[in-house]
């Protein structure tokens, strides 16, 4: 019975997001017409959302366990900086194209390996040492950004091989590469979260750490896996950012942190842990991207109004979810 109710609740959240999505789409189309519904607009949207979409999923994973990961953007930048540095060292002018691709692949593996270390360190601090997630990731955010600054001396790293930008900005069968990467990682994340025992355990850990301990789950291991997953997704976002900007810097994408939390909460992830799913986060990513692109079409609306809208929306969604939950609770009591 509980599982059925759970399924309905989950679909309710998704259905609600779908309605919002359609409403926003219709509104944007009505107000901007052919400018909004154009191939070029969809293409540019498709290039933008994967990076912060991945960061939002990374954030969502840690919110599931009632934690938070403030270091996602720092990890993304650190990985991008490392790759840029590595590529600038190993690539010599008259290298064959296939060798360059080999080097790019090696750089990607290196970035992923480093992100696993970063995530494991976060998980270690939270699970073993027992620091609250906000503080632990606050510290590592400064630390990882610090390493990136040391490596770059605070400047922008450029001079990347053409092949990297060409691959990331290219498309396969008309679909931009970042979207394909996003879809693959979103699908894997959704699978882990809803179809595996690991996802179930993470949700339990988020619902109650004590209950999870007494159920015999290894909480330390779960925390480490959780933050490693978050870090790996951040690293992938970093790789995409490296290709899109064709450069790396220690403090790119500072506003993404706020956006990632907003999208995760908007997608129905409960910041107190235990509730939410990846499909909601993906839906919320698309909604935010749509609003963002639509706002871009008004030349007289400054970029900064977006900040007001995101902040207001975050608080509005929190209150809205609260009211809906209260009503459901009351109904459940009556029934």
């Amino acid at each position: 019975m509980d599982t059925i109710r759970h399924a309905i609740n989950r679909d309710k959240n998704l259905a609600r997001l779908l309605v919002v999505f359609l409403m926003v789409f219709i509104l944007c189309t009505a107000l901007k017409g052919s400018m909004f519904v154009s191939v070029s607009n969809f293409q540019s949207m498709g290039k933008q959302f994967p990076e912060f979409g991945l960061l939002s999923i990374a954030m969502a994973f840690t919110l599931f366990t009632a934690g938070i990961d403030l270091s996602v953007v720092a990890i993304a930048n650190l990985c991008a900086v490392l790759m840029a540095k590595f590529l600038s060292i190993v690539i010599v002018p008259d290298m064959s194209s296939s060798a360059v691709f080999m080097m790019i692949a090696a750089a990607c593996f290196m970035a992923l390996a480093v992100s696993i270390l970063c995530g494991a360190f976060n998980g270690f601090l939270i699970g073993v040492v027992g620091i609250t997630p906000i503080l632990a990731t606050l510290g590592t955010q400064a630390l990882y950004t610090g390493f990136a600054i040391v490596m770059t001396n605070g400047s922008t790293l450029g001079g990347l091989p053409k092949q990297l930008a060409a691959t990331i900005n290219g498309s396969v069968a008309g679909i931009p590469v970042p979207i394909i990467i996003f879809c693959v990682f979103a699908a894997i994340s959704a699978f882990i979260m809803s179809k595996t025992t690991l996802g179930y355990k993470l949700r339990m850990l988020g619902t109650s750490e004590k209950a999870s301990t007494f159920s015999g789950f290894d909480n330390v291991r779960l925390f480490i896996i959780n933050y490693v997953l978050s870090a790996v997704l951040s690293a992938v976002a970093g790789i995409i950012m490296l290709g899109r900007f064709n450069s790396a810097k220690a403090d790119y994408g500072a506003s993404y942190l706020m956006e990632a939390i907003l999208i995760a909460v908007l997608g129905g992830v409960d910041p107190y842990g235990g509730k939410g799913n990846i499909s909601g986060v993906v839906m919320a990513t698309l909604i935010v991207q749509m609003v963002s692109s639509w706002l871009n079409m008004y030349e007289d609306i400054s970029n900064f109004y977006r900040q007001i809208i995101w902040g207001g929306l975050l608080i509005f969604v929190l209150i809205y979810n609260y009211i809906v939950n209260e009503r459901e609770k009351k109904q459940a009591m009556k029934g």
Binding site: V129, I131, L138, G139, T140, Q141, A142, T145, F147, G311
Partner: protein, 344 residues
Amino acid sequence: MQKTVKSTEFYVALIILLLCMAIQVKSGQFFTGNNLVDVVRAFLVPAMFCIGEMFIIITGGVDVSFPAIASLSMFVVCSQLEDVASNPLVFFGVAMFIGLMVGILNGVIIARFKFPALIVTLGTSSICFGIMQGVFKSREYPLCAPLKELGEMKLFSATNPVSGLTSNMPIGFILMILLIFLGWFILNRTMLGRGIYAIGGDVKAAQRAGFNVFGILLFIYAFSGCMAGLIGILRSTMLLAVHPNNLEGMEMTVIAACVLGGVRMTGGKGSVLGAMLGMALLTIVDNSLILLGISTVWQKVFTGAIIIIGTAASAIQAKRNERKLAIKMSEGGNWYGYNQTCNK
């Protein structure tokens, strides 16, 4: 005596002392008058932010919106009141009022719905920066005459006989002392202070004990916002110009300083002295890398490492205390009493 030696404040003070000695030995510049004034100047603004933030952390919340509140009220007041007012008090008053309003908004949302304070204040922070940059089109702005006059006043100045550099102690120093005293007084000498600790310890118990939880939470967020408005103006007088993005990111330093000084993130514990020592440690590290001959690019790495080591130390200590408590209880025979009878 033993209690003093075991406290976080004692350890932080010890570390500060050792650090100062090390810098002095390496550079011979730390205990010069102008360097000390420079360190206090750098300490002043974040230390004032610490007081409001500390109240909030003791109740188990966290506020990341105060840099945005301070920047917003600073820019709005300086750019809009320039031709209207000539008394600096008006500027301070209006800035504090703007801060108070945003603080009340924070407080009402957090206290009424019991949302995570971090996420709510992230939202209001984004709104404040958005209003400042979008509606008021913020940019670097010259400081108006009455505030500039205020900023050029000084308590005293210290000159380094070797390098010839002079540093002035701003009059904001007095404000900082007043605010620190106010913070100490509220926490240690009023019922409100007890309520703040009680909420951090256990909200339900505080409610049963008769504390007005909603009112207290509203007060601390409103206080933090109001003070942020004041500190914003103070900052602009110290810089002699309005730099709207200058405070961004300071929330992280302030939170870290509080926690380093023994303010517990889960609430219920912390002292003004501890928070001030924590801030002093971070300020000295930030300001003295050059004196130690370390490139400033390492600054963030050091800050991060200090946050991690400091919070890890207190987390490990908390865990150890918990274990001791559990052992004591089991020895008392309350839970495992039957074991003891079996052994006999």
